[in-house]
Symmetry: D3
């Protein structure tokens, strides 16, 4: 399969799934770029995990540009290899992972776009085992993602890595922006009450009430300034205790990383996590049942030497590896 | 005035108007940056020309970022000096020019934004002599600018510098985007029939019909490929013949310049005008009655060494100089 | 076709060919990026023109990086639209144009790579009507391209746009580098004797003999410094007179453009052509029988805001339009 | 106030002070940019803390460009919000904070500039409660700042964050450069003997004597390489023990941060502090009586995606928050 | 010579002079970089033309950074080859050209620096045939260069390529800055009265008097806006007529080029010359007796892909070629 | 010596060796740039440590460009000063350190290049005390470096800092690439069996077997993810225990640093070491007998504000300081 009908010689693995394009046959920088040089959705019969781009950034309040996030992350993902040594998994052989392309979302109408994204993701979750990893796009897209996941799994626990709470109410009258998805998700009952956590919070806020309201909505927050005190092990402990046994949705705003590690984003905040810390927390979540995830707010126009896009690609790879782990 | 009450020692000119901050007293790189280091609107009793930012870019179809255009153009405008040798005018002494700040426009609702921009510009045109130069922002803002100008002056002739026609109909169902302002303006009767011109058109189109419909809407187009044939003098002749004696609105999409001269924009097209050509055409328009103008689509995230923003600042300076000439 | 089986809703044109992804359905910045959002080779039964990437840059003598040229040009080609107004053609409806992906070439062995590229291109020319547009890659690739074209068409006339002659003999003992393809081609009898031309030559040389030997090999050169004297019309006249009625191969080294228009390349030379001039020359070649072409030496690591990649994409579009014209 | 007379709708806080422009009314990216979108000095009757730019960089020994620091920091400060959760303060409501514009300093005569800066800052300290936060400019400006502060408060304890000691003697015969302010300050009796500390020192030196002389001048140094050994708590302990109960001046050379966190500076040294560490040390200083402070050596021409300018803006925000804490 | 004693295998030419490092033996990107990979001054017994860096930028009024100009131009000059086809000369074989290193100039005291530069250049002109090409640094250095040239040759005709007149009087009290060298030179009798010309002037001025005073000082100006009217031939005619038979000093401020061609400079002005035009004017000056020259205001921190530095290197190469022509 | 004969006034130190150019006489940004402004090899009679560039990058599998590494590191090394406080050594006074220029290596033939590099380095090790620090170039160069070192010292212990193992077998049939030097070195008996260590390993691999084969080849690996668990002290302990008393070769691939600290490299991996960590490990190796070392994979085209080049220069400085310690 593949070699005859399609342009890329995907490696057919022992488990029968179609893996990446063979890097010994085609250099990594060559070929039309799917995520991790994996097959497209239509090139396989079925899949376990679909990586899908959501190039939508009309919900941003400061620097736009995340609409080019999926293209940049795909380009940066050419460096990903099949074996994940820290988790000791070979994700693209263990599961059929595909690049499902991008969901087209209306750039001029947020409500329409949210609906299009929800429908698009729902379509990727057509059987129970289907899992999805979104490449944003701005954080607005987490709301329709949670809506779609909810239709399949019911309320989920959320593990949300971000510099910001994203539980504001409205901005310029708009209920759905990149600063509001988790308030909306909470209001719509998409989250298991009191089993969600923010990790990496920092930076100035509008008001002390921001924190109080966030707690009332059922979130707990691990602030960045706590990390040195409780250590990464402490962070992991808090996260695992919080989510319990529920199905989990993981949302990673790339700005959870310090701007040194992720300059290409819209609302940078100093004092952030290092990529080593973030990866350590993620890898500790291997026992969880992650049913969906996103990596958002990669804005390539502000990136340098693909540093942010490479981070985005690797974080998606970590998420996939957790899903198959 | 100024020195006591405000932070900047504006030069009080012989004509009584308040000019730029004195560059012999305060280095050009110093001070909070208004356009050309001119007084703000509230620092003078009245004004002749108001420069106003419109940081709105929710109407773009490709690269966003022009919302940071006004800030970048202001920063780049620090280099502007009081005397324009080619036109032999001293615009900031001849007329009271002010920086009227930015118009706040809803980033999440194009229709609301268009209305806010129209109201904002209308407010700057409170007496007949008032003229306005907009710093965009994407090209969507030309529509509310023309609406406001129309309320004062009635239909105007449009001289539109751009790589693109901007007379498309809708895009993703939206009637007001950066690709549609002049079709809407034509439909709304804001333009004097058959007295408007596009200059600098080039690049691929959707269909041959794009050109036909544009002509039906009452526009004529000077294509970039014609310039070498008819020369800049030929371009000038066509433009002047077209607009006649009507009041004129000049709209400059920075992408009328070749990407070499203006890389920091959203939809670059090769084969464009040089800045020397553009300036030559503009200066030939000194006899026209320009009642309003804009410089749009400067997207700083794609700029290099302020090349595009410097172009934007100088083009605004040319427009002001024409208005006082 | 297309919509069901493949991920992208390609426009099915009146002529029956499968065109670009519909920009009214999917925003230009969305979707896995083929050249101009055209179908891949395996998505159609046959094709007229194949666009193919050749990500090989091991033949460079100064700045490497053109191996990322195909990916960058594809990304920049998202802005291309179906109708070419200057030539009044709709290339993607008139002919079936496809993205044939990239040819894998050995980065560590130039001779092996040259052979792989020749075989790859030959495979794309499997019936007489097939035409090919290469996206480089460094200029080394023009040699195997000419070899493959020769197998089908016999000797061709070459129109070569470049700052450099590329007829040097060897460099560090290597006969095939980006500075030597056209000496090798001449020696191998791939070119019709005395019917080939360089356009845009400039910059310092090793020796006066470089020019003499180039002439002896059967080339004529239009130097950049001649353009202002003879005009673009003069350049066109010389080119057309030179190539006569022979089948033509067009090779465009992006450094034929001045570094202002194409900073992202390996061996920049000042005093180059503008993109407007280059496009004007190309469009005058519409009567020629162009059987193959390339756009090479786009090195994205040195690019700014995709200026060079956008030029590369548009030049490929011009070439395709000439081929269908 | 504000709305009628001035261009920006500053939030009038419950405490009667005029705060930031309302981000719900005017997007953060809009409006002429004062620091943190705060009122200018002339827009309020009096103030508690004045933020003032000092765009002077004629004292640098390597990369210049910090003269554009104030403009870049102001632009980056648009993201600052009113509430500081880690310190639990609302600085712009607790105190009247203003942007006092820039001090004009002669770029061609260091001695004249030092005097102009001293006079300028002294003018901002016209009553005992006035505090000042300088935005540099290069580190030369710390000397006149200390001179002005001394006129009001007498000798102060200095907490100096920097990769470099800045206690060299002369360079090319000049006594006042960015490498010498604290030797001069010590010689001029501006510092309380033996109560000043450098934090973050690292990199190569001219001579072992540099350290000895620095100690003789009354400084102690916390080297970057000590941080992993003694921890941030150890650093804090040393700093607090050192400064005692004296009024404190805090001087932050942005190069105390590792170049990863602050690439946009003049003399980068590897092995630096992270922004999280720096902020942790600063926040532990809340009990101190900080009477003046600076953030210097932000050189925007070397910055990437405003990473350094955002750091500068946030550090100024931390300093203001400490002053009101 | 050379190969044994020094690290680089310079080509010994038929004329006995020591030329560039052999590009067939050592790749252009290799080796410690002198200008054009030429010998250093101490590696030859005598020389005809000395290229010398003057890394001084303390005279700038806006963006600093030209102190890194010589290093950047040297790096970019690696691409220069021995034969100049347009002038049909082999400059490095016809004359002994050397890289004389950099003149150390005090960055903190302009007067001291001017004197150091004058002495340094005078030292390079120790016999009548010696000629010098300076690599700036800012335009301040043209004054000491003219002083040194005057000591040898007496008053000279100046051909000055620049966007700006550089005949202002003082700025912040300083008589020697990058805006004043030619007024000082005129006052000091360094120029032959009424035989000097500015070429490429454009942009806004302080006052109409700027032009009048410039004319009174004995200059004529070819404005950029004239070029399209009189053509390059007209420019050449005016320049040649102006300088007559006098010894000539050529001063090239890189900002005479449009920012598209030279973004890396301190005070960019739109509407400038193309590099092709500039080179055409220069080449027409081959009959002149050029005794000294400079290329100034290359500020690498604002450059992109070495575009500006490559222009600087090539312009120095043109000047050298004219000197030997 | 030096001042008379050569262009730079090197400091003659008390120990009789010729040190850096005097920074009080010539500003750091001035002068033709050798590494750390040290003498060239031919400017001294003999030397202890030779710093030598190896601008070769034809062995890379992804982003090329390290051929410009030596030039960029030299330029960034201008900031290095003579005294290393952490190690309390004055390396350029304790030992005669020279810049031996670059080794010319064939860019088109890897085998030839490997041989040229081996010969070049061997030539620098002409007496037992000679030590060498290589500035790469890509990691391919470590193989000929080890071969040359072996000829003098026999098998050595390797301390290898890298994100990648670099013990792959072949890639596209080539045995010598930047991914294979240490497998080849092991096979060729260049390493003391079981006394070599990788430090900083991370990122995805091709197969679990990669790790097993690496161990079979005699390597141990300290993974980046272990650092937080065992601490830098633990890393040091493992390294020291591993290398024992053997002569040591230290190879630093700059990508051992996180991309935040070294964006300018070819195959970035997130989750890397900080420069503070790396320097701490290096400094703990002062008791070792380091006979040779390299710093490789600095690719300037991807760098930002010289961050990576500055790291490369400082790491070379650390290595030299260890060699003299």
């Amino acid at each position: 399969m593949g070699q005859d009908k399609y342009s890329h010689p995907y490696v057919e693995t022992a488990t029968g799934v179609l893996g990446q394009v063979d890097a010994q046959a085609i250099p990594r920088y060559a070929g039309i770029g799917t995520f991790a040089r994996l097959p497209q959705r239509h090139e396989v019969d079925d899949y376990d995990i679909a990586v899908v781009g959501v190039p939508f950034d009309s919900g941003v309040t400061y620097r736009p540009g995340a609409r080019f996030g999926p293209a940049a992350i795909r380009q940066a993902s050419r460096l990903l290899k099949p074996y994940h040594p820290a988790l000791d998994v070979t994700p693209f052989a263990t599961a059929q992972v595909v690049d499902a392309g991008d969901i087209a979302a209306n750039p001029f109408n947020i409500d329409a776009a949210v609906d299009e994204i929800r429908v698009g993701i729902r379509g990727l979750l057509s059987r129970p085992g289907h899992k999805v990893v979104l490449l944003g796009g701005d954080h607005t897209i987490a709301l329709p993602a949670l809506q779609a996941v909810n239709e399949v799994h019911g309320p989920v626990a959320l593990v949300h890595f971000d510099a910001h709470l994203d539980t504001w109410d409205t901005y310029f009258g708009a209920p759905c922006t990149h600063g509001t998805p988790f308030r909306r998700a909470s209001e719509q009952g998409l989250l298991v009450k009191d089993h969600s956590a923010h990790v990496g919070i920092r930076g100035s806020l509008y008001d002390r009430a921001d924190l109080l309201e966030d707690a009332e909505l059922g979130f707990t927050a691990v602030h960045c300034r706590d990390i040195d005190r409780i250590g990464i092990d402490g962070v992991i402990e808090q996260v695992l205790a919080r989510v319990g046994q529920y199905p989990v949705y993981v949302s990673i705003d790339i700005d959870v990383l310090d701007p040194a590690f992720a300059p290409g984003t819209g609302t940078p905040e100093i004092g952030g996590m290092t990529s080593r810390e973030l990866v350590a927390v993620l890898r500790a979540m291997r026992s969880l049942n992650i049913v969906g995830a996103d990596v958002v707010e990669v804005a390539p126009a502000y990136d340098q030497a693909e540093v942010t896009a490479v981070a985005g690609a690797n974080l998606a790879y970590e998420l996939i590896s957790l899903m198959v782990g």
